[in-house]
C-alpha cells in the first residue's frame, strides 16, 4: 500500500499533540497570571470589594486666556474636563490643578479660572502654580487668588486618609530649569521630619521633579535635594503638569507621572526646536487632552492611576 501524503506535513496525531502543548501553555499562563494577581491582592474580586481610602482627580495646564489654532477655545475644554471630573461616579476627596491655570496671569484670567473651578463637585480644590501663573510678578497675583494658607512662594502640605501630600512651587525662580530654592528645600526637610516611613507621600509640582528633557527646561534643578529627604519613605509618588503629555518613570522608591493638559498638546521631547503648541488635525484634539483619577487603598504601597481622555 502506498501513501501520497507529503512526508514533511504534519500527521493528525502530531497536530493534536502540538495543540495539546499549546493549550497547556495557554492554561498555565492563565493560572500563573491568576496566582500572581492573587498574591498582589489585585484580583478583580478583591479590588471591587476594597473601597479606596483616598480618591482624587488631577487636572492640569488649562491655560485660560490662550488663543490659538491649537485650541481655539480653552475655556470650553476646561469646562468639559470639570464636567468629566463631576461625572466620575463618586465625589473625589479633592481635585488638584497642577498649574498653568492661566496663560498670561492677568487678573481677569485668574478671576475666570477661579470661577470655573467652583464648578467642581469636591470638598477641596488645591492648586500649584505654573510658570504661566507666576511669570511677570513672581506669583503675587497667583497667591492673592490661590495662596491662602500657603507658605513662602505658595507651597504647603496636608495629611489626608493616611497619606502625606506635599505641594511644591518650582516655577517662581526659573533660570532655565524649575527651581525649588533653599527656603523651600529647608521647609520640605522639616515638613517630613515627623512623618513615619510607611506613610505614602504624594508630591505635586508643575514642572517635573525629574530630568524629562532639560534642553526644554523640563526638569527641576534642585529636585534631587528634595527627593533625598524622601528616600526613607516606602512609597513616593510625584505628579506634575507642564509637559502636556503622559509620561511615567520610576527611580528607586519614587514614581513620577506627568499629566496631560486640558488645553493643547506639546511635542514629544526633542521633536522640533522648542515646545510650541501642536495643532492636531480636526477631531483629534480631545484625544490629547484629559483628566487623571488617582486612588489609594490603605495598606498598599503604591497609588493606582487611571487616565481619561477628554470626552
Amino acid at each position: 500500500m502506498t501513501s501520497d501524503r507529503d512526508p514533511s506535513s504534519m500527521t493528525r496525531r502530531q497536530l493534536i499533540r502540538h495543540s495539546a502543548w499549546f493549550g497547556s501553555a495557554v492554561v498555565l499562563t492563565v493560572v500563573g497570571g491568576e496566582v500572581i494577581s492573587h498574591i498582589a491582592g489585585s484580583t478583580p474580586k478583591t479590588s471591587q470589594a476594597t473601597r479606596p481610602t483616598l480618591r482624587f482627580a488631577q487636572i492640569s495646564d488649562s491655560h485660560i486666556g490662550f488663543s490659538g489654532g491649537a485650541n481655539p477655545n480653552v475655556a470650553d475644554t476646561f469646562t468639559e474636563a470639570i464636567n468629566q471630573v463631576n461625572s466620575l461616579g463618586y465625589t473625589p476627596d479633592f481635585v488638584m490643578h497642577t498649574g498653568d491655570l492661566t496663560h498670561l496671569a492677568t487678573p481677569a484670567q485668574f478671576d475666570q479660572v477661579k470661577q470655573m473651578l467652583t464648578g467642581l463637585r469636591t470638598p477641596h480644590i488645591f492648586t500649584v502654580p505654573g510658570e504661566h501663573d507666576t511669570g511677570d510678578d513672581a506669583g503675587q497675583k497667583y497667591r492673592q487668588v490661590f495662596g491662602a494658607g500657603t507658605r513662602g512662594d505658595g507651597w504647603y502640605s496636608f495629611d489626608i486618609a493616611g497619606v502625606h501630600v506635599i505641594a511644591l512651587v518650582n516655577t517662581v525662580h526659573l533660570p532655565k530649569l524649575g527651581q525649588l530654592g533653599k527656603e523651600q528645600l529647608e521647609w520640605i526637610e522639616k515638613d517630613v521630619a515627623g512623618v513615619s516611613n510607611d506613610t505614602p507621600i504624594i508630591v505635586f509640582s508643575h514642572i517635573p521633579m525629574f530630568a524629562m528633557y532639560p534642553d526644554w527646561g523640563w526638569g527641576t534643578e534642585d529636585a534631587a535635594q528634595a527627593l533625598s529627604y524622601l528616600k526613607r519613605f516606602s512609597s513616593v509618588t510625584c505628579l506634575n503638569g507642564h509637559v502636556h503629555q503622559l509620561f511615567t518613570k520610576t527611580e528607586g522608591n519614587v514614581t513620577f507621572y506627568t499629566a496631560t493638559t486640558t488645553a493643547y498638546p506639546l511635542p514629544h521631547p526633542g521633536d522640533g526646536p522648542a515646545p510650541k503648541p501642536v495643532t492636531l488635525p480636526a477631531g483629534q484634539l480631545h484625544d490629547a487632552l484629559g483628566i487623571r483619577e488617582v486612588s489609594y487603598v490603605k495598606g498598599q504601597q503604591a497609588l493606582a492611576l487611571k487616565e481619561q481622555k477628554l470626552q
Binding site: 502540538h18 498555565l28 494577581s37 503629555q245 511615567t248 520610576t250 527611580e251 503604591a302 492611576l305
Partner: protein, 128 residues
C-alpha cells in the same frame, strides 16, 4: 547529544523562570499600578512560568522558539524603556536594582542557550 539537549532545555526553563520571578516580584511590589506596563509585566511573568514548566516536562521544539522570542522581546522592551520610552514609561540604567540586571542577564542567557541548541541541532542534522 541527548544529555546536552536536556541540559539546554532545562537551562532555558531555569533562565525563563528567573526572568518570570523578577517580573512577578516587580508587578506585586508596585509595577501593577503603572498603566499598561503593569499588565505587560503580569503577562511576561505568566508566560515565562508556563513555558518553563512545559520545557521541564519536555515539549516540542517550538517551545524553545517561543522562549527565545519572549526573552528577546523582553530585552527589546528593556532597551526601549531606557531610551525612547515604552508606552510612556521610562527608567534609568539598572533601576530597579537588582531586578533589572537579573532579568536582563536571565533573558540574554535564554537567547544564548536557544541559539546554542539551534546550532547543535543543525550541525547534527548536517552530519547525518
Amino acid at each position: 547529544m541527548r544529555l546536552t539537549d536536556v541540559a539546554l532545555r532545562l537551562g532555558i526553563a531555569a533562565t525563563l523562570a528567573v526572568s518570570g520571578v523578577s517580573h512577578a516580584y516587580l508587578y506585586i511590589h508596585g509595577y501593577r499600578h503603572i498603566p499598561n506596563i503593569g499588565t505587560a509585566f503580569l503577562l511576561q511573568a505568566s508566560v515565562c512560568f508556563a513555558l518553563a514548566v512545559l520545557l521541564v516536562i519536555g515539549g516540542p521544539a517550538w517551545l524553545r522558539w517561543a522562549a527565545a522570542g519572549l526573552a528577546a522581546g523582553s530585552l527589546v522592551a528593556f532597551a526601549l524603556s531606557r531610551s525612547v520610552g515604552l508606552l510612556g514609561f521610562t527608567e534609568r540604567g539598572w533601576q530597579p536594582s537588582p531586578h533589572a540586571a537579573i532579568s536582563v542577564t536571565a533573558e540574554a542567557l535564554t537567547v544564548v542557550l536557544w541559539a546554542v541548541g539551534l546550532l547543535l541541532s543543525r550541525r547534527a542534522a548536517a552530519a547525518q
